[in-house]
């Protein structure tokens, strides 16, 4: 099968991909003609062709199981195989969300224990498992902030402060809750600039949201002062928990002064990323925000479990109770970890990032030369001066069979290479990556053409993105029919 084939190319009238039962009841009367569909053009593919087609496509992909995947802020840690097996148990996967609570006590208990575990790890008071992705949890958090201030009659607090190193989802979520964004600058150490915060933190500000450690992989030692300043002036401190992996078993966000935080179970709690989801983005809250959490939460009373709605809840944010299938995997992971294991995870994650930092520092510009946490951000500035962009470095890494770091983010570092090795990588893997990056730095100086033309041995080479944008082709049509 040629690899540029699409489903219509392997379709022929009369082929089928599976068998179905025949009708075992008498046919009912036909529905009114005007409701019926005239034609349905879908591919007709045999099972064997279909399996070969998708298997061939899977081989064009690179996942954590293929190799090192140091995508910064994405925490691409290994996903234990047995978690997949337990999530598929039919006593979980076949449950219908409308079954009465007494029929699903096992599922509710699992959710309740996961809530408790996440509440404890973050040092907060309650957790809602409903948000299905990080950005979804972030939006829920901002809805909570808005509801909190409205509840207290503070209608004028319509601004959310965030840092210039924040994730793109942060300002986008602010826009979705009808608020304005204010950007607090970073100082020359990469931390939040207190003077900038001091000048912006007025009675129009509803909250400051921070990623801790930041997207620069740095922990801000002034966190207590920041929290105090925000709280003194009537604001809330919100957390983007994308980088929780660095704090597991070390420090609690609640004790650091955060009022709420959204987590990413597909990052920190090891559930697979699925090529872009499903994720799970629980939101944890301190006492002042507990009653605003998205509904429902699971409550326990004398060993029986039921759904409850917080009294001032922002309401429903999804059809049902969150991505339960992801929760099962996160629960399996969480229950494999006691206090010591939690700590070892963050220790090894931080150790790995600092090891990469020290080993690669001579070859790549390090904008913030200090101890980092779970990720390290280099700049391709030196190479850029020789005409080699960070994109070229990333593409050249693909030739080595390695996935590149996150590139061109955070925005405050030029030519950024945001590298998060995670704790699941061995020293040998890190050394392999370091050797590749050294060679690439050498080639950038002496043989830049090999970087400009990279990658060379991937299924396709550099793709014409501008062309894709100019001449939009976002679907096929059967039989070449055009609308």
């Amino acid at each position: 099968m040629k690899h540029h084939y699409l489903l219509p190319d392997i379709s022929k009238p009369g082929r089928v991909g599976c068998t179905l039962p025949s009708l075992d009841v008498p046919e009912g009367s036909r529905p009114p003609e005007e409701l019926l569909r005239q034609e349905l053009e879908l591919p007709e593919v045999s099972e064997v062709d279909l399996i070969r087609y998708f298997t061939a496509l899977s081989k064009l992909n690179y996942g954590v199981d293929s190799g090192f995947y140091p995508l910064g802020s994405c925490t691409m840690k290994y996903n234990p195989k047995w978690h997949e097996d337990v999530a598929k148990l039919s006593g979980f996967a076949a449950l219908h969300p409308w079954q009465p609570e007494e029929q699903v006590q096992g599922a509710l208990r699992l959710m309740h224990e996961l809530q408790e575990y996440l509440t404890e790890v973050t040092g907060m008071n309650a957790t809602s498992l409903v948000p299905v992705a990080g950005a979804h949890g972030e939006l829920a958090g901002l809805f909570m902030v808005k509801a909190y201030h409205q509840d207290r009659g503070h209608k004028g607090r319509t601004k959310i402060l965030l840092t210039d190193s924040s994730h793109g989802t942060n300002p986008a979520s602010v826009a979705m809750c009808g608020m304005e964004t204010g950007v607090v600058a970073s100082d020359d150490k990469g931390d939040l600039d207190l003077k900038s915060l001091d000048s912006m933190m007025n009675d129009e500000v509803a909250a400051l949201t921070l990623t801790m450690p930041s997207t620069l992989g740095l922990f801000d030692p002034k966190i207590a002062e920041i929290a105090r300043l925000v709280h003194e002036r009537g604001g809330l401190l919100g957390g983007d928990g994308a980088n929780l992996n660095a704090l597991m078993g070390q420090a609690k966000l609640g004790e650091l002064g955060f009022d709420y935080v959204q987590l990413n179970l597909h990052k920190t709690f090891s559930t697979p990323h699925g090529g872009g989801g499903p994720g799970s983005g629980p939101v944890c809250a301190m006492e002042n925000l507990v009653e605003f959490l998205p509904t429902p939460l699971v409550a326990e009373e004398k060993g029986s479990y039921r759904f409850v709605a917080p009294t001032k809840s922002i309401g429903r944010i999804a059809s049902f109770y969150g991505n339960f299938g992801v929760m099962v995997k996160a629960f399996a992971y969480a229950r494999s970890l006691g206090p010591e294991e939690l700590k070892r995870i963050s220790e090894d994650a931080v150790l790995n990032a600092n090891y990469l930092k020290e080993k690669l520092k001579p070859y790549y510009h390090l904008p913030y030369d200090r101890t980092c946490m779970h990720e390290v951000v280099f700049s391709g500035k030196k190479q850029k001066a020789k005409g080699v962009g960070t994109v070229d470095i990333a593409k050249r890494l693909l030739d080595y069979g390695l996935h590149p770091p996150t590139v061109y983010f955070p925005l405050i570092v030029s030519e950024a290479l945001m590298t998060e090795p995670t704790e699941t990588e061995s020293k040998e893997t890190l050394d392999e990556y370091i050797a590749a990056m050294k060679e690439i730095a050498g080639d950038a100086a002496e043989n830049p053409d090999i970087l400009h033309s990279a990658p060379h041995n991937t299924p396709v080479r550099r793709l014409d993105e501008a062309g894709a944008f100019r001449q939009l082709d976002v679907r096929w049509e059967m039989n070449g029919k055009k609308k």
Partner: protein
């Protein structure tokens, strides 16, 4: 307990610390003020794989498993046959352990399957363009409302009362969050208040019956509003697609396409619209292009709509979505194909009508709505639905959803190809005995 996914030996750790130039790992955490570093983590002692598998199997088995019962629940989550091809393909770890295809050269598997998904959704809905998928049907509907407000510059959203109640709850949350007005329209009234950004209508609706679409679409358009239709993708194997009746944005729950009911998630939101609106659409879109050697390939396109480029000016904040479920839907639709999807829809239709006919002939029971329906129908019962469902459970039947708060003494029953004639006959017999 040593963990199989922490590969460092103590010797590795020592050597790495030496290379870093610190004497202990604690030194690496010194930016965290000392007062916060004594946090106690009161979590249970860790368990091994064997112990946890047992514990999880025990929890799973303690639930009432619909696979061991006859189940007639629907209302936004549907039990359909999933061919084994789906699980085997989405279970390939090249797909499920990858992330968002930021590096297109090593993500062609994900990117090409998204292109297939977008194409199949368009074929199915009759819409011109589709994105790569949203969280679920309800958030797709909320995002469609936001998009309609952005496009029309209006701040009022109209939703018909027959739309799924939890979808209306989610719409309410999003609208309140963004300071938009949400107006609920009477089931039978076709009139839209002035200055609405959009009309949101479900086909078939929450109660299972078909709405009269053409006139309502016309009226909404006359008032300058867009029309957002919420559809059940399985129904489109047999019934008119929204592209045929002039809908501007089509959304819906794609869970029925190859994803189990999963106690409510993960699911997948369909989002498709007219081509001219593509630049206002939320979520990822994959486009076809060529590489430097002229070979065909796929990339994420129109990325300037997305949050990591445009930040607060993005069309949505969505980033991680439900990519693997979109792959499941792709494999499902490709496996069933033209004939299979039609057959599934027809099985649902005829079995549901067989059940409805028999139940409506029982003394004390009647259909709550005398309208054409697909696979769901509301039934008025002679006794409270809670009592009905209790009696059914004794016969190993999970009954319909109790909707007494919406329609007096009624349950919403759903019949799909999963329900055999024997199951339906058992349901009817038990109902008749009450």
């Amino acid at each position: 307990m040593p963990l199989p996914y922490l590969p460092h030996t103590d010797a590795d750790r020592r050597e790495m610390l030496r290379e870093i130039g610190v004497s202990s790992v604690e030194e690496l955490f010194e930016d965290i003020p000392r007062e916060f570093r004594n946090a106690r983590f009161s979590v249970p002692a860790p368990l091994s794989e064997l112990e946890l598998k047992k514990e999880l199997r025990r929890l799973a088995n303690s639930n009432t498993n619909p696979d061991d019962y006859a189940c007639f629940l629907g209302a936004g989550s549907y039990r359909h046959f999933i061919p084994s091809t789906v699980d085997h393909i989405i279970g390939r770890s090249e797909f499920y352990t990858a992330y968002t295809p930021y590096q297109a050269e090593v993500s062609q598997g994900t990117l090409q399957t998204v292109y297939e998904y977008q194409s199949l959704v368009c074929q199915l809905t009759g819409m011109e363009v589709s994105n790569a998928g949203m969280y679920d049907g309800s958030t797709s509907a909320a995002e469609a409302a936001m998009m309609a407000c952005n496009m029309t510059g209006r701040s009022k959203v109209a939703v018909v009362a027959t739309v799924h109640p939890t979808y209306r709850d989610v719409l309410h949350t999003y609208c309140r969050g963004k300071d938009l007005a949400l107006v609920t329209l009477d089931a039978e009234s076709g009139d839209l208040p002035p200055d609405c950004a959009c009309l949101i209508i479900q086909q078939p609706n929450f109660f299972g019956y078909f709405e009269e679409m053409d006139a309502r679409v016309q009226k909404a358009h006359d008032g300058g509003a867009l029309v957002v239709a919420i559809v059940d993708p399985t129904s489109l194997g047999m019934f008119r697609p929204p592209g045929d009746y002039g809908v501007d944005i089509t959304v819906g729950e794609a869970q029925p396409l190859g994803t189990p009911t999963n106690f409510g998630g993960p699911y997948l939101g369909i989002f498709a619209c007219r081509k001219e609106y593509i630049r206002r659409m939320p979520g990822r879109i994959v486009g076809k292009t060529v590489d430097v050697d002229g070979r065909p390939g796929y990339v994420m396109t129109l990325v300037t709509r997305e949050q990591y480029i445009r930040r607060e000016r993005a069309t949505s904040n969505i980033c991680t979505s439900e990519s693997l479920m979109a792959l499941a839907a792709t494999v499902y639709l490709a496996t069933l194909g033209k004939a299979g999807l039609r057959q599934v829809a027809e099985l649902c239709y005829h079995k549901a009508h067989y059940a409805a006919d028999a139940i409506s002939k029982l003394k004390g029971y009647s259909l709550a709505f005398d309208r054409p329906f697909f696979k769901e129908f509301a039934v008025n019962c002679p006794v409270p639905p809670s009592q009905v469902n209790k009696a059914l459970l004794d016969q190993r039947i999970i009954g319909g959803l109790d909707i007494s708060h919406l329609v007096d003494n009624s349950v919403l029953l759903c019949v799909t190809e999963m329900n055999t004639r024997q199951e339906i006959d058992r349901l009817v017999k038990t109902l008749g005995s009450l």
